[in-house]
Symmetry: C2
Subunit: 462 residues, 2 copies
């Protein structure tokens, strides 16, 4: 769908497909109330107050379709900002389909994907980053994604950008004023104050852009690979990690659908144990770590748990294996089978690798230190200064990230320009480039292609 | 769950599982409004009018869970007849789960299956047959089931039973009055008028009971078997029947889920082509009709389409096959491949089987007369006097059918008693048996076991 905004009246099923107690159809547009009123003989819906509920039969052509509850919202106080009706039916796909057919028969068009939120955006009910947050919020499967999405939806992040942009916009106006007085060589915009604002803006934008690395991990899940030699106990460890949490994970529908991953949510953060099935079913031939498929998995991982059997691993083997893991990876060294440790097999602790990396002795079999391992996984994310404080914004959207990076480049240009005292018109052009990048995030400046990309990915009914 | 009615406050997710634009949680019970008010800081929900909508953040323990739309219903004007709230959230399973957790934390109990409708029944918002209709309505996949369920939900059928029962109850009172005047041999209840009422009631109840045969077929779908010798074109015929309707069927989610049947909806009636996959993939060995698995399928069918190739079937073969089909089955004789008919293979028309059964020449390959075959399938159901008139009630529930049959037996007893002029006390007992059977349908007389059976089958949230 091309999101060309039309002013007709649209309808869509807003509840998930399937059978339930209730199913909702939303109708929005200038004629929404008049149209639904044609199907609702009990009461004149055009005469009722906004934000009221009305129970009665939904009829078409003399036929009773269902007994429904109708919610009436008058413009501009609705999600879309238009006149809107929500029809709450019995949750049968048959009835919902029938209501959609009847609405079509009286000239209400079925909505395309994201068309509701697009209208909300077009009518100024939310900015673009808030609209994007709606989609993220609906898809959220973990506490952390939920938290960042709801913060974004409430405008926390857009407000920050808007504030920075308005300060910069102010300077742009002053500089353009100078240009009007071209011949007179006046300077309305104080260059030092501008430089200060630019530095401050740069710092804030950089902080937002930097948060994307974490935001992206939060949104898509932290990729973890358990690596180690055969019989190190990788499969037992994975089971130990998953077992007690499995019930909680499975309560959230769709979590593990279509994935070949094991998902574990720890402290609200989603961890994805990537393709560990392959690792679990590794053959008996000795596969050196850092060779072949395991290496590919490790390259893709955010965190590597290197697991070894304390009773059969020499310090030499340990060093060899760990050195094979790329140095930019976060590594947790897990010494397994401490429950079976004999007198001879004392724990290696003086190895340099063990002291420079996270190191944890544990027993996958008895469960000893499994909780500590979970804590280490969380700690590895360095959330302290970010998510857990709850105050700072975390960027999770790649489109925002790109706009922030463009903003940074533009600010760098302005600063270089200021440093060599470029002319006012060139300075104004640089500032406008920065202003545009910032405006892209909130949608103050946008185009159909961007809108199409964003709203085309929404589900129908949203 | 045992449906012992409790007066606490309950909550359940009312929308189907999965991701959608909206998800609804219903809260019902004496404290519903007060409880949800604890989570809704924006406005005092205990002070708002019934049937109003309120938008705002849902908060718990300082944490924002979602921005929601809250519908307020005050007792007795709600589905359950109790104070009720509907919380409309973003349609994320994660959020819905979280709202349920937060509600539990403030003392709102998760509802069991059917608990909402049970409360509606207990609070006199609907009778038992109407409550049962709600479940049927939600599960309806075809026009005919939808129609009968919605008629039942609106009380058409219960009204009829209640009216008949109240007339009979009137007589019971008069006869009990006679008993009070025991010694005086008075007769308040005119025996002739009673006999007239009984005959009238019997006729009406019998008509309802008789409609169950059709109602049952409508509800579960009409079982059709296409039988015939190998290469008669059974598979081609099935495809011809299914092809154009397939799209319509698949729009109704869940229609073909978990079935090994092909479903076809004609004029709003569901037809189930039972295990025809087996027939379609029959081996090349000649399998006489009436032998083995095909015979089993035919025994189970409501309608048998006997298909034969006009170009290779002799009158003798035809007679042999048709006679093997049990005579109580509805048979449609379909003469296939009329598009390939040569000069020699003229259509057999004078056969006695062809004249006493529905007979239709067609071509599965070209589609000739496929529409006529669909019409024949509909005609075979003898709907004219039933569903299509739209006036008569059709019983679709086996519990109602059993109660109607018990009512008929009880009325027969009263009539026999009257004929031999039994004493008033025996007569009163017989009348009470009939009254009880009738009361079972609407739930005026019921017990926990019956309620458990009925509401235990509902989904949670309904």
């Amino acid at each position: 769908m091309l999101p060309i905004y039309k002013e007709d009246t649209i309808a869509a099923i807003a509840t998930p497909p399937g059978i339930g107690a209730l199913g909702i159809i939303r109708v929005s547009g200038p004629d929404a109330i008049e149209k639904v009123n044609l199907l609702f003989p009990k009461k004149d819906l055009t005469k009722v107050k906004t934000h009221t509920l009305h129970f009665g039969p939904l009829m078409y052509d003399g036929e009773l379709i269902d007994e429904v509850l109708v919610s009436v919202f008058k413009a501009p106080n609705s999600f879309t900002g238009e006149n809107s009706i929500e029809i709450s039916c019995h949750g049968s796909p048959f009835i919902l389909q029938k209501v959609m057919e009847v609405l079509a028969a009286i000239g209400v068009r079925p909505a395309g994907p994201g068309e509701y939120t697009l209208r909300a955006f077009m009518n100024g009910r939310m900015d673009l980053s808030q609209a994007e947050a709606v989609a993220d919020l609906i898809a959220a499967e973990s506490e952390s994604v939920h938290k960042t999405a709801i913060q974004q939806m409430r405008g926390g992040f857009s407000e920050q950008i808007k504030e920075l942009r308005s300060q910069l916009l102010n300077f742009a106006s002053l500089i353009e004023l100078e240009l009007d007085f071209g011949e007179e060589d006046v300077e309305f915009a104080d260059r030092n104050t501008l430089m200060q604002l630019l530095n401050n803006t740069y710092t804030q934008v950089k902080k937002l852009a930097d948060s994307f690395q974490l935001g992206n991990v939060i949104k898509s899940g932290v990729k973890v690979v358990i690596a180690g030699r055969p019989n190190a106990g990788k499969s037992t460890l994975l089971n130990a990690l998953l077992n007690e949490e499995r019930a909680i994970v499975s309560e959230i529908a769709g979590t593990t659908r279509d994935t070949i991953e094991d998902i574990l949510i720890i402290d609200g953060i989603k961890f994805r144990f990537i393709d560990t099935a392959g690792i679990r079913h590794s053959t008996e031939t000795i596969e050196m770590i850092g060779i072949g498929r395991t290496f590919e998995k490790i390259k893709d991982a955010d965190i590597v748990i290197y697991l070894y059997d304390v009773n059969s691993t020499t310090e030499e083997m340990l060093s060899l294996d760990i050195e094979a893991i790329p140095s930019n990876k976060k590594i947790i060294l897990a010494a397994n089978k401490i429950d079976q440790m004999s007198e001879e097999s004392s724990l290696i602790t003086n190895n340099q690798q063990l002291t420079t990396n996270n190191f944890l002795p544990l027993s996958a079999k008895t469960g000893q230190n499994i909780e500590a391992l979970k804590n280490l996984l969380i700690q590895s994310l360095d959330l302290n200064t970010n998510l857990q404080s709850g105050n700072d914004t975390i960027i999770t959207n790649v489109r925002h990230y790109n706009s922030l990076i463009n903003t940074l480049r533009a600010i760098e240009n302005i600063i270089s320009g200021l440093n060599i005292s470029i002319t006012g018109d060139l300075l104004a052009a640089d500032i406008h480039a920065a202003l545009n990048s910032m405006a892209e995030i909130t949608g103050e400046i946008t185009n159909d292609e961007i809108l199409g990309n964003i709203f085309g990915k929404f589900c129908i009914g949203k």
